[in-house]
Amino acid sequence: MESKYTFKDYQLEGFYDELVDSSHAPRKGAQILDRRLDSLSSEELLAIQNSAEKAFFDLGITFTVYGDEMGTEKIFPFDIIPRIIEAYEWERLEKGLKQRIHALNLFIDDVYNDQKILKDNVVPRELVENSPCFFKECIGIKPPKRVWCHITGTDLIRDKAGTFYVLEDNLRCPSGVSYVLANRQILKRTFPQVFTRSKVRTIEDYPSLLLEKLYEVAPDAIERPNVVLLTPGCFNSAYYEHVFLAQQMGIALVEGSDLVVNEGYVYMRTTKGLEKVDVIYRRIGEDFLDPHVFRKNSLLGIPGVMDIYKKGNVTLVNAPGTGVADDKAIYAYVPRMIQYYLDEEPIIPNVPTYLCSEEQDLDYVLGHMDELVIKEANGAGGYGMLVGPRSSKEMQDAFAQKIKENPRNYIAQPMIALSRCPVITGDHFEGRHVDLRPYILYGREISVMPGGLTRVALKKGSIVVNSSQGGGSKDTWVLGK
């Protein structure tokens, strides 16, 4: 039967496509997939897509629709056509990510200790010290193995020419890895034949690798550390991920009220009394972590935990304070950090960035608002940003006002024409913009999971891939050599 889902009359519309080249032929890594798609009828393909969605639903990988009194639950949109990255491309990305995380970690350790990079005027001191994510409470702390950013989910994008850029370093509590693993589980059922023949690299060992890293950064001399995952609770939108990771690692999933600080250590309350905790993989924001130090009204955290952490009697993962390197204004200096600490050229470039805190840049930004993407230095989730070319004159004027009031809080970047990937729509494939979030783990050394979360902006023409704004996801195949 003839399928309408084929790459033959798929429209590229001038964008770089992850699966199809400019002559409309499947890229090398996608050839086996292409043949499999050709052998399926439209009905068969849609049936596969439906059964994948049902599997997500039954597993409860869902979120509750806000404002819906019936408590309607929906799955995170998922498209069964994978995104494919070839071995040679991945090799370069892996090296580039390791290099970047290495430098960023050195930077965080430096700004909270010797501050060499500030003394040498490579990064402006006021930029760091005025960042709302620079925590004075962390000055002088030397976490185990001097590792601060144990888990990072770097956002990468690709432009029209197919060049990868780093868009954001998420060094605080990056989420999404459970979807990577769930997507893979479902896709293995969906395209078993294509899988083995394409030599897709496995990501199955992520939870055990993560556990290993958590063990490695435990306070010294603890043979079998007690590791727990701290969640804000089951109404948090990432709760599924917390449960999933705790389950896969076989560690306790705790809420703040399960933990207590007592005589220099952190304990959890069990049916048999108090049990000492050595490593806390925290999935709550650092500002909620300790009401004695940060937000006074936080009910999610553990009163007094920072004190124990400073004494080195418990390890917090990621370390509080990493957010300073996540500041989008400081992002602009990462290439210089790589040169400063490692004496190397950055392997993956930054997106060119204008800092509104600098007068020249500010003038440029205010004069080119219709061309630029303007973001809050500490915004997240695709909020607090202006996509210049898609905005009205009024929106630009209002935004310009906000920038003038607090220039330090804004950066701007040229609009990148994100690469695309085919997705199933109506009765044919259409291209949708994607990004890529690989996960990098840092313990004794740095490891990069061969894969990542491919987020896809499902709305036609949209470049906002965040799940809170209509984004979906795809399985990401990194091919072996």
Binding site: D58, G60, G304
Partner: protein
């Protein structure tokens, strides 16, 4: 295990058991109305009493018709003990411990929840013929119980799971017996009539005990049924059986023998088991069955409180350090 996780698995299990019990009573009452509707007026009010929610019911409903009773027990979201509310609680508690229960268990709870949620959107189908609905609820109960037995580690969480199930069942058997004894007959002169027999049989069916009763006790009589439901040592629905099982699980948690005790929960439950173990049918009637049930309910309350204090309380004796910030 974490106190909060133990609490969650205990209540998950109780609410699951509760949903199954409601489905069984409902199913049996439904069949009973089909049997005796020619001669006697059918009664739905006593069914409400089996979950102890008469007050809530009479405050919000004008009559105890079939429709309103069935709706109240199955689809009424405002009734905390309706099947939909129970399954919501099952799922909510399961969510908190999803990482330590088998994935199969979570998946079935989740599918069960969605089934119920869809079904109560069309309450008329249930109130007109609750059979299929009740069958599904009972089936999922058996399925999830089976998963617990066959797949879950028989460790602490299993002990809390089982303890929850047996404690819930013992309370529910006590209530249903009490209800029969006081409300169901039109007048005392109906004692011993066909209606009385049909009702006792229905009662046994409602706890899945008719077959077991017949095999070991023969003809139905009120005394035999009462002692079967309260004191039998082999029938999994009897109060003594449930309490003995709960006691075994309780002692497995602390790794102690049932002839000793190491905490308040063991003491309370041990005393209760002992008093029932040395009780006979004659004792029951001498004391008065209703008084006996009332007394049991009070003791259940004490056991419940002791379990909470021993295991679930989030405030074990910890000296909170003072911080200057």
């Amino acid at each position: 295990m974490l106190s909060s996780s133990a609490n969650a698995i205990f209540w998950m299990s109780r609410y699951l058991e509760r949903s199954g019990n409601i489905a069984r009573y409902l199913d049996v009452n439904w069949h009973l109305t089909l049997d005796i509707s020619g001669e006697y007026e059918t009664q739905w009010e006593p069914l409400i009493a089996t979950t102890g929610d008469e007050e809530d019911f009479s405050a919000r409903y004008t009559d105890a018709s079939r429709e309103s009773a069935i709706f109240f027990l199955t689809a009424d979201e405002e009734n905390p003990n309706s099947i939909i509310s129970c399954i919501r609680m099952v799922r909510l508690n399961a969510m908190r411990i999803r990482h330590i229960i088998p994935t199969e268990m979570w998946e079935n709870i989740n599918v069960f929840y969605h089934y119920i949620k869809d079904a109560v959107k069309r309450p008329k189908r249930i109130t007109e013929n609750p059979y299929d609905f009740c069958q599904e609820v009972k089936r999922y109960n058996l399925l999830i119980g089976g998963i617990a037995y066959d797949i879950m580690d028989h460790d602490e969480k299993w002990n809390f799971f089982s303890m929850g199930r047996f404690i819930e069942r013992s309370e529910s058997t006590t209530r249903i017996l009490d209800v029969k004894y006081h409300i169901l007959l039109p007048s005392p002169k109906h004692v011993g009539t066909v209606l009385d027999h049909v009702q006792w049989n229905a009662l046994l069916k409602a706890v899945d005990g008719l077959e077991s009763f017949r095999q070991r006790y023969g003809q139905t009589s009120s005394g035999k049924v009462a002692s079967f439901l309260l004191l039998d040592r082999y029938f999994p629905g009897s109060v003594l059986f449930c309490l003995n099982q709960a006691q075994e699980h309780l002692h497995s948690i602390s790794n102690t023998q049932t002839w000793e005790f190491s905490n308040a929960a063991e003491k309370q439950l041990g005393q209760l088991c002992n008093s029932l173990s040395y009780c006979t049918m004659d004792d029951l009637f001498e004391y008065g069955l209703h008084e006996f049930s009332d007394d049991l309910q009070i003791k259940f309350g004490r056991v419940q409180q002791a379990i909470f204090d021993t295991f679930f309380s989030r405030m074990p004796q910890v000296k909170q350090q003072q911080f200057q910030s």
